[in-house]
Symmetry: C2
Subunit: 459 residues, 2 copies
C-alpha cells in the first residue's frame, strides 16, 4: 500500500507535547481568572446553521467562512438541507445563545467561552485558520451599568498578572468621546465619523504623518487645521489616574455625546482603581478605536510594554445591543477577547514561553523487573497524593531511563533498588537542580509536595 | 429587519451554564487523572486534509464525514485545492500526529487528547453530530509490553472512582484468546472469525438465543454443537481474580493463538491487581469483542453496575500497528476512549448529574452604592485567596440579590452593611445550608476556605 504523507493544512498550530503543556497552562490561567470573577462557562457547537451565523456579516467576513456538508445521512447541500458553517468568532454564537436561552439565563449574564474558531484565511506567517479565542462578556437585560466597563480591566489585569509575560498596559478610550469630539469639529455625519475612526485606527501602523495627510487631503477634505486637531486628540496618553482625569478635562466643553463619553470614561477610570488595578497598568489612549462598528462606548486594548510590536494582546469594548438579529430584547454588553493561539505563537517567537517542564512530576525507574509491584504501589501512593507519576514498565539501562526523563521534561526520577528497599528509603534525583538526595520512604510525599508547590508558586 | 430564529442544528448538546459547569467538572476530573498517570496533552486541528483522514476508512464511516470548504481566499473545492474534512475520531489524527512528529517524540509515547469530533449522523435521540472524546493511548516503537495493557484499567479505575457516578466494572477479554478458541473449533479463516466476533458482539443487544441460532443457522453453518460451545465460551464471567484465572485455565488447551491470548490475559489480570485496582472493579468477560477490526489483543469495556442499560462508558484495546497508512515504522499501541458527551447525556437522563452549584463561590451584595469601593476591595481579597467572587455592581433590593444568587447556584452571599462595617464583621448567608452567620472580617477568608474545601472533598 502506498503511504499517505502525514501532514496538516497550513494555518493551524499543532504543538509537540511540552509546547502543548505550556499552551494548556495559559488556558488554565485564563479560565481560573475568568471563573474567579464570577464568569460562567459556556460552550457552543463549532457547526451552526449558516443563515444564523451570517445574519450580520458582510462580504469580507463571509469570504472567510468555512462551509460544512456531510455526504452521508444528512444529504448534500442544495437538496433542501440548510447550509452549515463553522463559527468564525465567539460573539455571534454568544448572541445566538443568549437569544435562544434568554428565559433560562439570569441577567446580568456573565459568561466566558474558550473555544477554537475557524477562518479561511490566506496561508501566511502568523495568520491562523483555526485559533483559540478566550472571551468574557457581561450582558444586561435592557440596560447595563457602566460599572461593568470598569470590571473588565480588573479581569484583564488579573489574567496577565498571573500569566507573567512581563509588564503590560490596559489602554482605554470611549467611542462616544471620539465621535463627540469629531462632532465638535463639524464632522456630524455618523458615516463620516466612522471613516475617520478607521483612519485613526491606522495610527500605529502607518504613523501620524500618513493619517494627518489623509484626513487633510482630498479623500476626507477636512483641511489641515481640523486634521491637526484630530491628530492632537488621538495622541493623548496618560501617565497616571490623575493625569488621565486632567487630560480629559483639558479637552474642553463639547456636544452632548462628547460629554457623555467623557463622564463614562472618568467613572470607569476611577472605578478601575477601586477594583484594585494599579495605576501603572492602565492608561488613557485616545487613539484606541477598534475596527468593529458595533462598539459604542468604552474600548480597550492591552499591550506588553516591552514588546509593543506584538500589538494588542486583549481587546474589546462596550456594545449597544448584542443580538438584534435574533430577538427584540435589548441586550447591551461589554466584553473582551484574547486570541490565545496567535498570542502564544508571538510569545514563543519572542522567547517568552517556558516549555521546560512536563505535567509529569515523577518517573519511577525500573531497577529490577521482579520489583515491579513495589514500583506500582509507590506510584499509586504518589498519584493518590496528587503527584503525577509515570512508571517505567519496560526496563532497560538506568541511564536510558534517566535520559528519557530528561528529554520529556520530568523533574524527579525515583530509584528504588535493593539498597533502598533494605533501608526503607528512596533515592530521588532532581533533574532541574542536577541534585540527588535520599529520603525516608514515609517522608517522600511530603518532600516532593513541598518542592512541587514551591516550583508552582514560582511559576 | 426580520429576525432570524436563534437555533442550533439537531445532534449537538448545548448546555445552560450550571449544566456546562457540571460537564466541565467531569472533563477536569478525566484530565487530572490522565495527567496523574503521566499522559501528555495533545491537541490536533479539527480540520484535516480529507485524503489524510480517510485513508483507512470504508463506506459507512465515509458517509458520515463532514467535508469543509471555504468560499474565500482558499478557493472553492474542485479548483485544485485539496479537500478538507472534520475529524470523526481522535485515533486517525493520533496516527497522523505520531507519524508526522515521530522523530520529536519519546517512546513509549503516552498521550491524552480531549476534543470534539464530528459525524454527520442521522438526527436521533442520543446520537450526536458533535461530541467529546477523551482518549488515552500508549504507543510503542517496534514493540510495546503487555504491561501497558494492565495500566489502562488502572487509569479507568482512577477516573471513574473520582467521577463518583456509582459502582462500575472494567471488563476484559483478549481477541487472540477468542480467535484461538474459534480456531480450536475449526473456524480457521480470519474473515470468518471476524464475522463470528461481530455476531458475538450482539449478545447484549439481541440475546443468547438469537446469536446461537444465527451461528448454528444457514448463514454461518456452524451447527448446533459448535454454536453452543461458542455461546458457553462467550458467557464466561469472573467474580474475582482467582476465579478469572481458574476459568481461563478451565478452557483447556488450544492452538498457539489461544495460548498466547490466555497468557496475555493472565498477565494483565494479575498486574491490574498490582496497579491497585480492587478485584470488585474488574472482571473477565469473554463476550467483549469490540466491533473495530483493528483491535488485536486485550479489549476493554466498562459498565455501571447499577445502570447496565447505559452500556459501555469507556472502551478500547490493544492494536498491532497505529499508523501503517502513513509510515513504515511499526507502532503498536493500547488505548481507550470515553465518549463524554453521550455519557453526560445518559447520566443526566438517569438523574446522576448534580448541577446544583456554580463555579461562583461568593456573591457580595450591594447594600449601599456609596460603599461600592469597600465591596470591591473585599472581593479582590477573596479572589486573591482563590475564592471565586461576583460583586453586585447594579444595586436593587437585597431580596432580589439573594434570589439571583439562589437561582445561579452561588452558595455564599455576603452582606456588608453599616452595622457590619461599624463592628468590622461581615454577615454570611449560606444558601445551601439555609444558614446565616457573622464572622470577623479578618477571619472571613479562612472560614470560607474551610467550608469550600469540605464541600469540594465531599464532591
Amino acid at each position: 500500500m502506498a503511504l499517505t504523507p502525514a501532514r496538516t493544512m497550513p494555518g493551524v498550530l499543532e504543538l509537540l507535547p511540552l509546547d502543548q503543556i505550556a499552551f494548556q497552562r495559559m488556558l488554565d490561567v485564563i479560565r481560573r481568572n475568568y471563573e474567579r470573577f464570577g464568569f460562567l462557562a459556556v460552550e457552543t457547537p463549532a457547526i451552526e446553521y449558516a443563515d444564523v451565523l451570517l445574519t450580520k456579516t458582510g462580504g469580507e467576513t463571509e469570504r472567510q467562512v468555512y462551509f460544512v456538508q456531510s455526504t452521508g445521512a444528512l444529504g448534500k447541500a442544495g437538496e433542501g438541507t440548510p447550509e452549515l458553517a463553522l463559527r468564525f468568532d465567539l460573539t455571534v454564537p454568544l448572541a445566538r445563545y443568549v437569544a435562544e436561552h434568554e428565559r433560562d439565563l439570569s441577567f446580568p449574564f456573565r459568561r466566558y467561552q474558550m473555544q477554537k474558531v475557524y477562518r479561511g484565511e490566506r496561508a501566511q506567517r502568523g495568520r491562523f485558520r483555526e485559533f483559540y479565542q478566550c472571551d468574557i462578556d457581561v450582558i444586561g437585560k435592557d440596560s447595563l451599568s457602566v460599572r461593568y466597563d470598569a470590571e473588565i480591566p480588573a479581569v484583564i489585569y488579573s489574567v496577565f498578572r498571573e500569566l507573567a509575560i512581563g509588564p503590560f498596559t490596559i489602554q482605554l478610550n470611549n467611542r462616544k468621546l471620539m465621535r463627540g469630539y469629531f462632532e465638535s469639529l463639524g464632522i456630524v455625519d455618523a458615516e463620516q465619523q466612522m471613516l475617520v475612526l478607521r483612519e485613526v485606527d491606522k495610527l500605529d501602523k502607518r504613523g501620524a504623518d500618513y493619517v494627518r495627510d489623509t484626513l487633510a487631503g482630498d479623500a476626507f477634505g477636512l483641511g489641515a487645521e481640523i486634521a491637526a486637531k484630530i491628530l492632537a486628540f488621538v495622541q493623548v496618553r496618560s501617565t497616571s489616574l490623575r493625569d488621565a482625569l486632567g487630560k480629559l478635562d483639558a479637552l474642553g466643553a463639547g456636544p452632548a455625546t462628547m460629554e457623555q463619553g467623557r463622564d463614562e470614561l472618568k467613572e470607569v477610570l476611577g472605578l478601575i482603581h477601586a477594583f484594585g488595578v494599579p495605576e501603572t497598568h492602565y492608561a488613557l489612549n485616545l487613539s484606541i478605536a477598534r475596527g468593529l462598528d458595533y462598539y459604542t462606548g468604552t474600548v480597550y486594548e492591552t499591550t506588553l510594554n516591552e514588546h509593543p510590536q506584538i500589538g494588542s494582546i486583549c481587546s474589546g469594548g462596550r456594545y449597544e445591543n448584542l443580538a438584534g438579529q435574533y430577538t427584540k430584547s435589548h441586550l447591551p454588553g461589554v466584553g473582551i477577547s484574547i486570541g490565545l493561539t496567535r498570542l502564544y505563537w508571538q510569545l514563543r517567537d519572542a522567547g517568552l514561553i517556558n516549555t521546560a517542564t512536563s505535567t509529569v512530576d515523577v518517573l519511577v525507574t525500573q531497577m529490577d523487573e521482579a520489583q515491579l509491584p513495589a514500583y506500582l504501589a509507590l506510584a499509586s501512593e504518589l498519584r493518590d497524593a496528587g503527584i503525577a507519576t509515570e512508571v517505567v514498565l519496560e526496563g532497560g539501562k538506568l541511564g536510558k531511563q534517566f535520559k528519557y526523563a530528561d528529554r520529556a521534561g520530568i523533574r524527579f526520577v525515583i530509584v528504588l533498588g535493593e539498597d533502598e528497599m533494605a533501608k526503607d528509603i528512596v533515592t530521588v534525583k532532581d533533574l532541574r537542580r542536577a541534585d540527588q538526595f535520599e529520603v525516608v520512604r514515609g517522608e517522600l510525599i511530603k518532600t516532593l509536595r513541598v518542592e512541587l508547590e514551591q516550583a508552582a508558586a514560582m511559576g
